[in-house]
């Protein structure tokens, strides 16, 4: 274990956290490599924020250990925290300071040398699109810009590990896209951990994903494998000249046909064997008048149900 994890940026080992009698996080282990963007996905209250807070030293784990870049966070917190940049769920901003003052202050807190202060602040402002906002009061900025200042604060000292807790909450779609681009570029030279409850966000920004549900890791794999999990096992089909349901059921690999209230069909099929091309061919042959054929991706909720259900049945059989 020790050898294989020596070069990892973050090693979380069997983390648990209890608040009184509430078990918020239970036995969560994972690692982060350089150049990786790791997404923590989970519904609200799943234990994402608790895990993030433990990783950056704001909260002591009830059990388990954390190593940041080879330094034990619990034994040598100051050295370990030098390696971290953290954006909490609510950005820790002082409304009465200007952006420049705040970023200089955060940089000094994170031990950026005085001589490199100006350059560090200028770089981070450029990366986060704050170049023109340096002299504005943080309290007067819009939510999106405040979020950018929050991210800037987390990366001003260019730490090896950047931890972002729900970085796109409360932003408009354009800002969300900008922040996602920023996170992807951060992934080039930092290790990034981000938490979110939005499935597409993970699919767009991360290359590895962990799903946390009720304090437990229920899924931990590459983003490709997640995409395989979310892949459809059903198609939505709309036809102008509707055939009988039995005709559709007769198609190869179709396991179930459901007629929806709006006249469309939901075609369930055997996993990984989509009958889409066969349906198109049949439609042309029988002049069904195909108007719509959409694969139905699973929603996050369905994946949770699937994963947690699989987990329980797995436990039951062992």
């Amino acid at each position: 274990m020790a050898e294989s994890t020596a070069h990892k940026l973050v090693v979380a080992d069997r983390l648990s956290r209890r608040y009184g009698r509430l078990q918020a996080v239970c036995d969560v282990s994972f690692t982060l490599d350089k150049g990786e963007v790791l997404g923590f996905l989970g519904p609200n209250g799943a234990g994402k924020s608790t895990t993030m807070q433990m990783l950056c030293g704001c909260l002591a784990p009830t059990e388990g250990g954390i190593r940041i870049n080879g330094v034990d966070l619990l034994e040598d917190p100051l050295a370990a925290k030098r390696q971290i940049g953290f954006l909490p769920e609510q950005p820790p901003l002082y409304a009465e300071l200007t952006v420049d003052e705040y970023l200089r202050y955060s940089a000094r807190l994170r031990r950026v040398a005085r001589s490199r202060l100006g350059a560090a602040v200028a770089t981070v402002k450029e990366r986060c699109g704050l170049t023109d906002s340096g002299r504005r009061l943080i309290g007067n900025l819009s939510k999106g810009y405040q979020q950018r200042v929050g991210i800037a604060q987390a990366i001003v000292h260019s730490p090896p590990v950047v931890i972002l807790d729900e970085p796109t909450v409360g932003l408009d779609p354009i800002q969300i896209r900008e922040i996602r681009d920023l996170i992807r570029t951060l992934g080039n030279d930092h290790g990034v951990i981000l938490s979110t409850h939005i499935l597409p966000e993970v699919q767009m920004t991360c290359n590895r994903v962990q799903i946390i549900h009720r304090g437990k890791l229920v899924f931990s794999d590459s983003i490709d494998n997640l995409n395989r999990q979310t892949q459809a096992d059903s198609l939505l089909l709309a036809l102008r000249n509707k055939p009988a349901v039995t005709e559709l059921e007769a198609v190869d690999d179709v396991s179930e046909v459901e007629t929806l209230p709006d006249g469309r069909f939901r075609i369930r099929f055997v996993p990984d064997r989509s009958p889409a091309d066969r349906l198109v061919t049949l439609s042309v042959e029988h002049n069904w008048g195909l108007t719509e054929l959409t694969p139905e991706n699973r929603t996050l909720e369905q994946i949770f149900i699937m994963l947690t259900h699989a987990d329980q049945s797995g436990e039951a059989t062992t």
Binding site: Y19, Q53, C56, G57, C58, L59, A60, P77, L78, A79, K81, R82, I84, G85, F86, P88, Q90, P92, L93, Y94, A95, E96, L97, E101, Y105, S106, R108, L109, R110, R111, Q153
Partner: protein, 250 residues
């Protein structure tokens, strides 16, 4: 690191008008009392000059100002210390410190130094006002220095208590009310001893004003200094422990 935090805190203290209005109001009251005392002294001067060992200008005018500032700050200090930690907690800015490579003691000391900075400004104004007397008469500078030291120590003790109480809550007003209550109790705790004379020395020792009087007479007693340093040290330590506990529970 704590100087950095102190600097930021002082900035935040002086950006809203609270600190300025406190300085203005306190200075106004001091000026009024200064003039009243001066007037009294001039009226009494003829009679005092006939007495052996009569109180001088320092006793009659400067020291009353010092003790008045002490009383005023008993009321005002809670307003200055109330938001130190509670507002950080309320605005969720504590993670900025907690995720930074800054030990908790630096945060506490930084905040404490910021309040001392504010107290310093206030004392500087008081001293300037007192020294204005030197233009017309001679002051007992030793007594002024002793009074200043005593007042400074007492205000530092107020600040440490206020800082700790601010760690306990996320509502600044609650912190202010509780701080005021605690300071006032420490102020009047020796009232219970008056009837019993010398017997209740523990209560007498606990009283925060009791240790001021000798300073105002120009007497610097290490026991009094020790008392204030003990209070300051105790409450700073408690603050550090309280913030450390933040990490452990909730």
């Amino acid at each position: 690191m704590s100087l950095l935090i102190a600097g930021r805190e002082l900035r935040s203290l002086f950006i809203p008008p609270l600190a300025w209005s406190i300085l203005g109001v306190v200075q106004g009251i001091l000026a009024w009392v200064y003039l009243v005392q001066l007037d009294n002294f001039i009226t009494l001067q003829a009679r005092l000059s006939t007495l052996e060992g009569a109180p001088g200008v320092t006793d009659m005018i400067v020291m009353p100002l010092f003790s008045l500032l002490g009383i005023l700050l008993l009321l005002v200090m809670p307003l200055i210390t109330m938001r130190l930690i509670s507002e950080e907690r309320r605005n969720k800015t504590l993670p900025l410190f907690l995720s930074s490579p800054a030990p908790v003691k630096d945060i506490v000391i930084g905040k404490f130094l910021a309040v001392l900075g504010f107290v310093g400004v206030m004392l500087a104004l008081l001293i300037l006002m007192s020294l204005a007397m030197a233009l017309g008469t001679s002051l007992d500078y030793g007594q002024v220095a002793a009074g200043l030291l005593g007042l400074f120590l007492m205000l530092a003790a107020f600040a440490a208590i206020g800082l700790y109480i601010s760690c306990l809550t996320q509502h600044p007003t609650v912190a202010a009310v509780v701080t005021f209550g605690v300071l006032f109790m420490l102020w009047i705790v020796n009232w219970a001893t008056q009837a019993g004379a010398e017997t209740d020395t523990a209560l007498r020792w606990l009283s925060i004003v009791q240790h001021q009087e000798s300073f105002y007479r120009g007497l610097v007693d290490t026991a009094d200094i020790f008392y204030y340093l003990l209070i300051i040290g105790l409450f700073l330590l408690l603050s550090v422990r309280r913030l450390d506990a933040e990490r452990l529970q909730t």
